[in-house]
Structure formats: structure tokens, C-alpha cells
């Protein structure tokens, strides 16, 4: 391995950790490929978003303090989710506004928190090698798009690896996941996700790609229920598709 450019603490996220660990390993291999050493702090938990959005502000603050303590000493913190990334980078300071000590810590932390594609493009200056040609459509996950300005970064990375993006109608409209929203208001959520996957499917792309696990599982689950053969990937998986194929073969 060439000399490392620095150390990255990976905030794994609950959904990747528990439901799609393979995506976590794709993320690790991308960061390593970009020349950084990956550290996975053991004392990490959820970012606190369920409590924050559920109105349980007090517990959201408690969780935020724990996350801050677990990550504050690292050089970079990378998160392969716009939603958890937005929670930490966009909301922590506001959430802890009345706690002088932790607000200051939150300011220090948020300055080094990056959504994965943002980190790869703008910090690591990572240039993926060409893998193979592929046509996909991309759903812009809401929090990444509107809280962290994630729009062109994953598209640029995918393009360099040979992926051509066929834009669907309204790629920036929410898929209907919304955390607890999808089980609190399943009927509305269902209508939203149905519209989303239909729009995606209309593109005739080979896959539907996004950057957030919630959206991914929501769209994937709907497509499977509808019997539509359109696979859904995290962009990190696609950027490591060579590795995935290799591992599957060996």
C-alpha cells in the first residue's frame, strides 16, 4: 500500500451496520483506495435522528453528545449517508445550542464530517478507474441533496467508473421513506415510493442508484413487491463493482 494520506473514522450508520454490512465494506475499500486509513470507532451508535425527528429532543441531545465524544478526535469523519451525515453536520450545532461546551465541540466535529462522495471528490481528490460501461438512473436522497449539497459528486464518481446516468423524471423528489414516516403513514409513503420507482423504471436503466440506505431499502422493497426487475444499489457498491464481482467469483 502506498503512503497513507490520513486517517478516516467511519461512521457506519445503523442501517448499514445491521442490514447491509456489505455496503459498509464497499465504503471501506473506497476510502482505502483513495489513500486513507480507515478506523471504525467501536463506541459508535445511532446519530440520534429518530429521537430528534420524533420530538424527543432531550434524548437526541444525549445521543449527540455521545457521538461527538466518540468521533471528535479523528482527522476526518466519513458517513455513507446523507441523512445521518446531515443530522450530524447540519443539525447538531442547533440541537446543542444551549450547551456551550458541546456546541463548541459540535462545531469542531462538523467541520471534519463528510458525506462519502463529498469526501472522495473534494478531500481525497479520488479518481475512480474505469471499470465497465453501465447505464443507471440516480435518486437524489433528500437530506444529502438539501442539507449537504450532494448532487454532482456521486454522479461524477460514477461517470469516471464508466456509468452513464439516465436521469429519471424528478430525481430530487422524495421516495417516501422519511424514517418513522413510512410506518406511521404507510399509505402516503406507499404512494410516494410507487411513483418514484415507476419514474425510475421508465428510464430503462439497468439499475437504480442512490446514496442513502433508507431510500434504497424503500425503493428496493417496493420494486420487489411489484415484481419489477430493477436492482437498487448504493453508489459505493457500484464504485466497487469490480471487487464485488471478484469476491463473488473467489
Amino acid at each position: 500500500m502506498t503512503e497513507e494520506k490520513g486517517e478516516v473514522a467511519l461512521f457506519v450508520t445503523c442501517l448499514i451496520d445491521n442490514l447491509r454490512p456489505d455496503i459498509g465494506f464497499s465504503v471501506v475499500s473506497l476510502i482505502e483506495d483513495a489513500g486513507f486509513k480507515v478506523i471504525v470507532p467501536e463506541l459508535q451508535s445511532c446519530c440520534g435522528q429518530p429521537n430528534f425527528n420524533g420530538g424527543d429532543k432531550l434524548n437526541a441531545q444525549k445521543t449527540a453528545r455521545k457521538v461527538i465524544d466518540a468521533f471528535i478526535d479523528y482527522e476526518y469523519v466519513v458517513i455513507a449517508s446523507g441523512s445521518c451525515g446531515g443530522m450530524i453536520k447540519h443539525h447538531y450545532i442547533d440541537l446543542l445550542v444551549d450547551d456551550t461546551l458541546y456546541r463548541q465541540k459540535a462545531e469542531r466535529l462538523t467541520a471534519k464530517v463528510y458525506e462519502l462522495s463529498h469526501f472522495l471528490c473534494e478531500v481525497a481528490d479520488y479518481k475512480p478507474v474505469f471499470i465497465d460501461k453501465m447505464e443507471v438512473t440516480y435518486h437524489d436522497a433528500c437530506a444529502g441533496l438539501r442539507e449537504l449539497d450532494i448532487k454532482n459528486q456521486p454522479r461524477a464518481l460514477l461517470a469516471q467508473s464508466g456509468v452513464n446516468i439516465i436521469e429519471m423524471d424528478e430525481p430530487e423528489v422524495c421516495c417516501g421513506f422519511g424514517g418513522a414516516f413510512c410506518v406511521k403513514y404507510p399509505e402516503i409513503s406507499n404512494q410516494m415510493v410507487e411513483k418514484k420507482v415507476m419514474d425510475a423504471n421508465k428510464t430503462d436503466a439497468a439499475a437504480l442508484v442512490t446514496g442513502d440506505l433508507g431510500c434504497l431499502m424503500n425503493m428496493e422493497g417496493k420494486l420487489h413487491r411489484l415484481g419489477i426487475d430493477l436492482q437498487v444499489f448504493h453508489y459505493a457498491e457500484l464504485l466497487t463493482r469490480e471487487r464485488l464481482t471478484r469476491e463473488r467469483l473467489t
Partner: protein
């Protein structure tokens, strides 16, 4: 404000099953967001004006008492009268007594959300007055006995043929006996019916888009011209409006005019924008002799100095409704309030009660599209979250949710225990999976709401954290 937001869930189900409503919402969503995007692209100063508009409103709110008094002084100097209503009941009584003082029988009304908020028209009708809505959309829903389903397109939930049926039912006594099929003919018939009303009205009631403190001017924006006919013909003009509509100067009004129609419908400006200053002058040939402005508080001042203060910047453009995927799925009536969409989810609990309206701020994915299009940068998701906090503090949400959130937070403070339980949890979850397909098709409890309409990919049997730990151990062994 009359609210039936407690029925949110059944109203949502009705809306989702209503094919004609779904067709209307489809057109609304696609059409207006496309037009807005084009209008913004054609106007390089747009974002700069948004920032300025936010700052103007923030400034006004900070000095609201003084601006309102300045406005009052100017209106009075010009021969008009300003009335103050602390709540909706007072506002209704003031309007009624002004109408009665003029022995009014017939009233024309141009569109105003404040009058919807205070349920003014039914109240005037109950007191024997003939009050007719003149905005076409408002007129249609008045004939149908409905409430607006959108703050600027009140009849957007209806199809052309539903409007035709309504006119056929309600206009036959006026000599219109033909069932119309063309939109242009429907508009023409309403024009004829309402023209008579305009020409004969004793009192005109309007809202106001903006109140200009410097000159005592009220600004009214319409496409139809109904506000001008409402305000120029009758002997008495009554403006019913919220205290937050105040802006300092005509220059500031210009900034808001540039934002309003672009944000609302993607037009550069509406067909008519009227700046009305006081009653008719001695030399004038028309215009009202009596000019009254009723300033309505009704819960607004309570929002000052709180997180909700930002909501008082709202100019009622409807961009947040037009871009809200939840609104575009269920329409306005499901909200059970005249204020719907994201702005309605913030205002309704304030203007009614949180117990009544608590579903509304919860029914959002926090996708943030509303905030991204708001011409005055209102942080709508944050304000919906404000109500969720209030709900939690007051113990209004279900116990299962409260304890669930608390338990989750407790685990967050003990990550190692959380990782252990998660490893167990995914194995249990795995038991529900179908080995052949790799998906779970039915889950119990709340998770069943997921599998009602979606499958769930069966998770692998080990978590990332435990796999990572094993890898690290193996690596260390190798190194040793």
C-alpha cells in the same frame, strides 16, 4: 378556525382513493414546479431578493408594534379606519357591525385566507347577509359548500365536469339551463353571474397581500380582476388581514411582488397588482366612501419571540404546497384545515390546538423541498419539528412511541450493548425471510406497516461491526 385534522388518517385514505383528485394533484405538482424552475432560471436576482425579503420581514417583526402604528396613522390620515381584532370572534363581529352600519345586504368578496381562517362568510350568511366569493375557485367551492383545498387554487381538487355539474345545479334559477362542457364556457357563465353581483354590491371585502406602513397602502394581487371590482365599486371596502402582512415601504413591496408570482405559479407577475391607499377622494368618480382595515392577530403575536416567529414571514405564495410530495399525494382537504401543506402543518396547531392538529407536523418526511423553494427562507421542517417537540413534551404521542424512543436513546448511550442486541435482532429478523427470494414479505407489529405494500430484504446474519471486529482480530493475529 374550524379544524377537523383529527380525522387526518381517514381523510388521507379517502384522498388516496379519489382518482379525480389524484389526477388534479398530478397536474398541479408537475406543472407548477416546472414553471417555477423556469421562472427562477430566467431571473438572476432571484436568490438575492429572497435573502432581502427574509431580512425585510425579520426587521418588520422585530419592530411590529411600531410598524402597525405607523400603518394605522397613515390609513387614518387618508380618511380610512383601522380596527384591531385580538381573535377570530372579534374580527367577525367587527366586520358584521361595519356591514350593518351601512345597512348592507349584498357583499362581494375577493380571495383572502384570513377570512377563511376566521370563517367569516358563513358567519355573515348566518346574519342574513348575501356574501359571494368572487375568485372563481372560491366561488365554485362556495357553491359546493366546500373549503379551499389549496391556498391559492382553492378548487384545484375539482375536475371540469364537477364544476359543470355544480353550475348546472346552482345556476338554473338564474336562467342558465345548459349543461356546459367547455372550460371557456364555464368561465363565461361565472363571469355573467358574478358581474351582476359586482355591479350591485353594497360592501366589498378583501384581504391584503401586503400592508405598506409608509403610505398606509394595501397591496392586492389577483389574476382575475375580481379584487379591483370588489374594491372599486361598493360604497364600503373592508380589508381583513393578518398583522404580519406589514412591510415598511413601497420599495419593499416591489421586492415581494418580484418574488410572489414567480414562487407561486412561475409567472413574472400576476395579471393585476393593486396598491390601494385610503377611501375615494373627493374628485374621484368611483371607489369606496368608507375604507376599513381590520388587523387580525388570532394567535400571531404569540408566535413572536419563539421558534415559530419565522413562520410570520410567510407570504402565502403556496410554493411549499406545490412542491410537497405529501401534499401532492393527499391534497389539501386531508389536512382538515384551510391551511394545508407544510405551511398548514406549522400554522394549524397554532391557530387551533396541538391536540387537534398534531398529525399534520408529523406527516412529513422532512425532505426539505418546501424550505428549498420558500421565497422567504422559512425553515419549515424545523418548525414542524418544533411541534413534534411540543407534542413529546406534552406527552401527546402514543406510549409505544415514547418508550421506543427512550429505549433507543438508552442503547445509544451503551453502544456495545446496542451492537450485541443488534446482532441478535437481525438473526431474529432473518427468521422471517424467505430463503429462495431473500426477502421478507410479512412482519409483525409496526413493521407490518412496511410489509403491507413493500418487501424487506433479509439482512445477512452478521453485522458490519462484528465482521469488522473479527477482521481486525485476524489481522492482528497475522501481524503477531
Amino acid at each position: 378556525m374550524q379544524v377537523n385534522s383529527k380525522d387526518f388518517i381517514p381523510l388521507v385514505n379517502l384522498a388516496l382513493d379519489n382518482n379525480s383528485l389524484q389526477a388534479s394533484l398530478g397536474m398541479l405538482g408537475k406543472g407548477l414546479s416546472f414553471k417555477r424552475t423556469a421562472a427562477v432560471a430566467d431571473f438572476p436576482e432571484f436568490d438575492q431578493l429572497r435573502d432581502e425579503a427574509r431580512d425585510i420581514k425579520d426587521h418588520c417583526l422585530q419592530y411590529l408594534d411600531i410598524y402597525l402604528m405607523k400603518f394605522e396613522e397613515q390609513v387614518t390620515n387618508k380618511g380610512g379606519h383601522v380596527h384591531w381584532a385580538s381573535n377570530e370572534g372579534e374580527a367577525r363581529e367587527i366586520v358584521l357591525s361595519l356591514c350593518q352600519a351601512e345597512n348592507a345586504r349584498t357583499i362581494t368578496k375577493s380571495k383572502s385566507m384570513v377570512t377563511e381562517e376566521i370563517d367569516l362568510v358563513p358567519f355573515l350568511e348566518d346574519h342574513g347577509l348575501d356574501a359571494v366569493e368572487t375568485d372563481l375557485g372560491e366561488y365554485i367551492i362556495q357553491l359546493r359548500g366546500e373549503r379551499p383545498s389549496h391556498i391559492i387554487a382553492p378548487a384545484v381538487h375539482l375536475s371540469k365536469s364537477q364544476v359543470a355539474d355544480t353550475f348546472f345545479d346552482q345556476h338554473s334559477n338564474l336562467g342558465f339551463n345548459e349543461k356546459l362542457t367547455e372550460r371557456v364556457d364555464l368561465v363565461g357563465e361565472a363571469r355573467q353571474v358574478l358581474r351582476e353581483k359586482f355591479l350591485g354590491a353594497d360592501v366589498g371585502i378583501s384581504g391584503a397581500n401586503f400592508l405598506v406602513a409608509d403610505t398606509g397602502t394595501i397591496v392586492l394581487v389577483t389574476n382575475e380582476g375580481n379584487a379591483e371590482l370588489t374594491t372599486a365599486i361598493p360604497e364600503t371596502h373592508i380589508v381583513v388581514t393578518g398583522i404580519e402582512k406589514i412591510i415598511p415601504t413601497l420599495e419593499d413591496a416591489s421586492t415581494f411582488i418580484r418574488l410572489l408570482a414567480r414562487s407561486a405559479v412561475g409567472a413574472e407577475i400576476s395579471a393585476y397588482t393593486s396598491f390601494i391607499t385610503g377611501p375615494r377622494r373627493e374628485e374621484d368618480q368611483d371607489g369606496p366612501k368608507n375604507f376599513h382595515v381590520v388587523l387580525v392577530d388570532n394567535g400571531r403575536s404569540e408566535m413572536l419571540g419563539t421558534e415559530l416567529q419565522d413562520m410570520l414571514r410567510c407570504i402565502r405564495c403556496s410554493a411549499c404546497l406545490n412542491h410537497c410530495p405529501v401534499y401532492l399525494s393527499i391534497g389539501g382537504h386531508a389536512y382538515g384545515s384551510v391551511y394545508s401543506g407544510p405551511m398548514g402543518a406549522v400554522l394549524t396547531p397554532q391557530f387551533s390546538r396541538l391536540e387537534e392538529a398534531k398529525q399534520l407536523p408529523n406527516a412529513s418526511t422532512f425532505c426539505g423541498r418546501c424550505e428549498s423553494v420558500c421565497p422567504v427562507h422559512i425553515p419549515l421542517p424545523k418548525l414542524m419539528r418544533h411541534w413534534r417537540n411540543k407534542e413529546f413534551e406534552a406527552g401527546l404521542n402514543p406510549l409505544s412511541m415514547r418508550w421506543g424512543l427512550r429505549a433507543w436513546a438508552l442503547l445509544n448511550r451503551h453502544p456495545l450493548l446496542q451492537h450485541m442486541l443488534a446482532s441478535l435482532g437481525i438473526r431474529i429478523l432473518g427468521l422471517f425471510g424467505n430463503k429462495a427470494t431473500g426477502y421478507i414479505i410479512k412482519l409483525p407489529g409496526l413493521a407490518g406497516n412496511w410489509t403491507k405494500d413493500r418487501d424487506f430484504r433479509t439482512p445477512p446474519s452478521t453485522t458490519f461491526m462484528s465482521q469488522w471486529k473479527t477482521m481486525q482480530k485476524n489481522r492482528q493475529k497475522k501481524e503477531v
